[in-house]
Each structure stands twice: as C-alpha cells, then as structure tokens.
Amino acid sequence: MSAVTYREALRRALDDALRRDGRVFLMGEDVGRYGGCYAVSLGLLEEFGPERIRDTPLSESGFVGAGIGAALGGMRPIVEIMTVNFSLLALDQIVNNAATLLYMSGGQFNVPVVIRMTTGAGRQLGAQHSHSLEGWYTHIPGIRVLAPATLEDARGMLWPALCDPDPVLIFEHGSLYNVEGELADDAGEVDIEGAAVRRAGHDVTIVSYGGMLRVALAAAEALAGDGVDAEVVDLRSLRPLDTETLVASAVRTHRAVVVDEGWRTGSLSAEVAARITEEAFYDLDAPVGRVCTAEVPMPYAKHLEDEATPQVRDVLEAVHAMGA
C-alpha cells in the first residue's frame, strides 16, 4: 500500500494502458506539453512521445470525432475533454456517431473509444465549468457511462473500459483529484458492471456516485451518531444501471434517498428513484427521497455554490424527513 492521490491513480491507469497495448493513445487539449489541465497526464509525453500523447487544438467536435474514427480504424483512443461543459461542443460526435454507428450499420462497425472528462462543482468555477451533466449522457443507448469515486476505481476502470468494444464515457469529479488515500501497489482492473455497497446498514439506503459518494459516506457517519444505520451504495456505472443491487438494498432497508449533484428535473436521480419505486415499492416505508443541486446555473461565490450543491446536512434532513 502507498499513499496516492486520485489524480495519481488515474495517471497510473493511463500509464499502464499505454504500456499494455500499442493501439492505445491519449488525445486532448493540453494533455501533452502542459501535462493535462488537471495534471493527470503529467510526465506521459516524456514517456510515450507526442504521437501517443497527442495535444489537440480546441476543436472538441473535431478531436472527439477523430477519436471515434481512429477507433473505427483499429486504434484504442482515450480522448480527454477538459470539462463536461466543453463536451457539449462534441455532443454531435458522441450522440450521433459513437452511440449510433454500431446499430445503424446493423452490427458492422463498433466504436471502442474511451472519453474521459471532468465533471462537477465545488471549485468556484462558475456556470460553464461546474455542472454535472453525466446524467444527460445516461439517456443515450449505445454508450457506457462510468463514474469512479474511489482510488481503486480511478486506477481500475480505464483498462476494462478500453477492452469494451463500444464507447465508454468516464466522468472524473473535479473535487476528487487531490483526494489522497491508500492504494495497493498492485491495484489493477476492476469490474465496471456493478454498483458497490460502500457501507453496509439496515435503516436507510443512500445512493450516490462520483463526487457525491464522500457526502453520502459522511452523512452515514453522522447518522450513525443519531442511531441510524445507513447503507451507502455507489452506482459506479451510471449506464447501464445495476438495478439489482439498488433494489436489493432498498428492499433490505425499506428506505432510499438518492444524492445526485445533477439538477433534479429530468435527472439520473429521477431514474434511480423510479427504478427503486418500480421494483421495491411494496417494501418501502417511505417515498424515495432525493437530494440534488438547486436548479440554478452554478454560482461563483463560495457560499452560494455550497448552498446550491448537496451537503451532508441536506442528506441528513432528507433521511430524517422519511422517518428514519
């Protein structure tokens, strides 16, 4: 075991993938000479050279599309987009090409591309760098959506994502890059199919993912002090959803609250709540609760940003409101 940051865990995953498969390359804005907007790829240019650590112009649609094309042509591209808000400039390529080519071609052309991007608030970056739009992407059939919340997942999700014959989006919450913890020196690939129970409990299920997992776990600790034994489920895979794990947990605890940094309306939290309601309704003692970001573009001022995003106290309030 050694102490590493989430950023370092991601870097190790990139390094490992680039060593393991000559078809793998990294492409994106400032991934090379700059070292990555969030320094995830720092040092990789020196190690792997400019052909495999490829700086791109600010052309999100162009280079994401090029990643899709390169995947069609037999490569295993990892495309980095600085932040989810910028990915909107590449939506055409992701939604109209990556997600559809296999189906439209009757199964002839699969697209083994991995697209990584930063998501989420908490760093006072305002309304064009802080949103949590991963829920939008979960609406799209044909792509897999992952959200590593732990060091193990940051280290281990990339390789299986590259082995997936279809497009995979990986969302890295911006507040996690500096989080430090212990990671086994031989940590490697992890499963990318299922949700994980991060804390077992009997009284209520708190469902979260990505940057909100820490909030959910902190809330569970606080609840324990109040005599409420909370179970925390980390979705890990946002599409497809591991409904089985969600429902099994809700059936056990009889209460569920979803903590999602996305907005409430038309959100991933709505989908999770609906699935639990559809399949565990008669086992529930209360309606499924939701803690989401306030329906505002993300403000800059810290007190407003904190007010807008789900905090531990909001989770506690939601849990207590359902009688737990």
Binding site: A66, G69, G106, G107, N110, D166
Partner: protein, 339 residues
C-alpha cells in the same frame, strides 16, 4: 486552382474499355435511383430519400481512384458512392426496403448505407458529421503506418459547419491521409451557396488550411477520376490531405419531400444540358469507342441487375422484432474493429 500542383485537365479520353466501364457505372446509379423513385411512389421505400441524379460523375470518378484497402466516409446522398464503391445493388435495395438482407439489416435506410467489406463507413446524415470520422480513420492509418487513403465525401452545405473547419485544420496539422471531396451542387437543401457563404470559392477556403485544393468539373467523370487519382496518389505517398471541389448539380429536388421552389427552371435546364452520362456517351461515340447498340446493351444489363435487386429485396425478410435491441452494444464475438 489554388495550389501549384499540376492538375489534370480532364481533356484526355479514357481507353475504350475503361470509358465504357465509367459509362456503365453512371448508368447503374442513374437507373437505380430512378427505380427508387418508382418504389417510393409505390410506398415500398419510405423515410427521406435523397437522390444524386446528375451527380453520378462525382461518385464514380472518386471511387475509381481508390484502392480496396482505402476507406470511404460519405453523406446521406450516398447511393451512388456505395454502388460505385462495390456494394451490391441487392444489398442496397434490400436496405431501402427495410429488409434484414440489406447492408445495414434495415436499420439504416437510404441515409445510412454501411458496408464493412468495402470499408464504406456510412452514410452520415448529420451535415459535416462524417469529416471528423474521416480524420480519425486517417489518423489510425497513419499511426499504424498503413498507406491507405480515406476519402471523405460531403456537400457544399458542410462547409458552413464548424466540423468542416476543425477537420481541415486537424488533417492538415497532423498531415493525415484524407482525400476531402466536396460535391458542390450549389445548394444546401434550399439555400444557395451565395446565401450561406461569404466566400463561395470552396477550394480557396480549404487552401487557407494549407491543404492542396482545386476545383474540378463534377459533370465530367473523366476529369473527376483524373483529379481524384492525382490527389489520391499524392495523399497515399505522404502528401497529407488534399481537397477537391467537384462542381456539380442535382437535377432533382433535395428529397422526395422537397417541392423545389428555390431554383430557377432555366437554371435546372441549363445543367441538364451538361448531363454527365450524355456527356461521356457523346465523347465515347465521337472517339469511335461506343459501338452501335453498345449503350442499349448496357442499359439492358443494368435494367436486369435492378430487376434482380428489386426481386431480391421484395423476397427479403423482416428482422424479427425480438432482435430490436441487438447491436445497441456489441455482441462480444463481433467485437473486433474494421482496422
């Protein structure tokens, strides 16, 4: 012309056998699409149907210049490109009729013809959407040290899209083996080029990215083929991306839904006098290449091929509805890439 590269004039006459081949290919596409109109009226083909009648020289000329190992990314007006590239007429017609025997199992339709065997990466119906894909295919070829060319076909409308500019820049910056072929038929659906572009010289636009570019008479299949061969050879031998502006015209409306209110009848008539099939026919006849009855023989053979394709499509089957969700994600056994 906007580059110093010597550009073929298109004035030469092809050798007899090749000339007849070009004529036959254009006739195949023309008659295929005319049959499509009948089938559309007969409700056997539905959805959007975009015909390239009048533009056959572009499809045939460019595809002639490519090798089997090359890749093609086309637009939604791509029947001609798919057929000229080698997709069987049966496969294309079955697709238009929505049958599982179609090239895309009936999931694509007219705008999304795909064919792995001929490295035909679609039918892309988002204007400009195919250009980044072509750049990526070329990047894969370059990184894998393959001397392949990716031909990317798009219309003048795509030039207004950001993806055009991003793709031209990336391809030039990374010196990628892409042959960009812009079929300039003067209209982006109903909007004339001069109503949508501040600079209507499209070759000049491409040249601003330091991409060797020139314009070609897109109604002359010999000129298109010569220019495309010349450009493809340059691309293949490491010359980086090249751009051809193929000046052409569609004789029919944008799609079957289009009442064609935005074009002057005289303008259409004027272009019809430059019909690429008539043009080559007359040229071959003048050169003594087109023997008496030769065109009739070609027409008869093409008609038989179309009849066979329609019969094949009619006899085709519908994919079982149980398979609706197949190919949303890969079936692992199918999961290698075309590269």
């Amino acid at each position: 012309m906007t580059d110093t590269v010597a550009v073929p004039s298109g004035a030469s006459t092809p050798d007899p056998a090749h000339g007849l081949h070009l004529l036959r290919e254009m006739v195949r596409i023309r008659r295929f699409e005319e049959r499509c109109v009948e089938l559309y009226s007969d409700m056997r083909i539905r959805g959007f149907l975009h015909l390239g009648i009048g533009e056959e020289a572009c499809a045939v000329g460019v595809m002639e210049a490519l090798e089997e190992r090359d890749s093609v990314v086309a637009t939604y007006r791509e029947h001609g490109h798919a057929l000229a590239r080698g997709m069987s007429m049966r496969s294309a017609m079955a697709e238009l009729e929505g049958k599982v025997e179609g090239c895309s199992r009936g999931r694509g339709g007219s705008m999304h013809l795909f064919d792995k065997a001929s490295r035909f990466f679609g039918g892309n119906a988002i204007v400009g959407g195919g250009l980044p894909l072509a750049v990526g295919l070329a990047l894969a070829d370059k990184m894998q040290r393959r001397d392949h060319v990716t031909a990317c076909i798009f219309g003048d409308g795509a030039v207004a899209e950001g993806e055009f500019h991003e793709s031209m820049n990336l391809a030039a910056l990374w010196h990628l083996p892409v042959l960009f072929c812009c079929e300039n038929n003067l209209y982006a659906m109903g909007t004339a080029l001069e109503r949508s572009e501040s600079e209507t010289d499209l070759a000049l636009k491409a040249a601003s990215y330091r991409v060797p570019s020139w314009d070609v008479d897109g109604m002359d299949v010999v000129a298109v083929e010569e220019a495309a061969r010349h450009a493809a050879e340059a691309v293949r031998s490491g010359g980086g991306p090249h751009f051809l502006e193929l000046r052409t015209y569609r004789f029919r409306a944008h799609s079957m839904y289009d009442p064609d209110r935005y074009r002057d009848k005289a303008e259409i008539e004027g272009w019809r006098h430059r019909d690429p099939i008539d043009h080559l026919r007359d040229r071959l006849a003048a050169a003594g290449v087109l023997a008496e009855g030769e065109l009739e023989r070609i027409e008869a053979e093409v008609e038989a091929e179309i009849d066979d394709a329609v019969a094949f499509a009619d006899a085709g089957t519908l994919e079982p509805v149980e398979d609706l969700e197949r190919f949303v994600v890969s079936e692992r056994a199918d999961a290698e890439t075309a590269g």
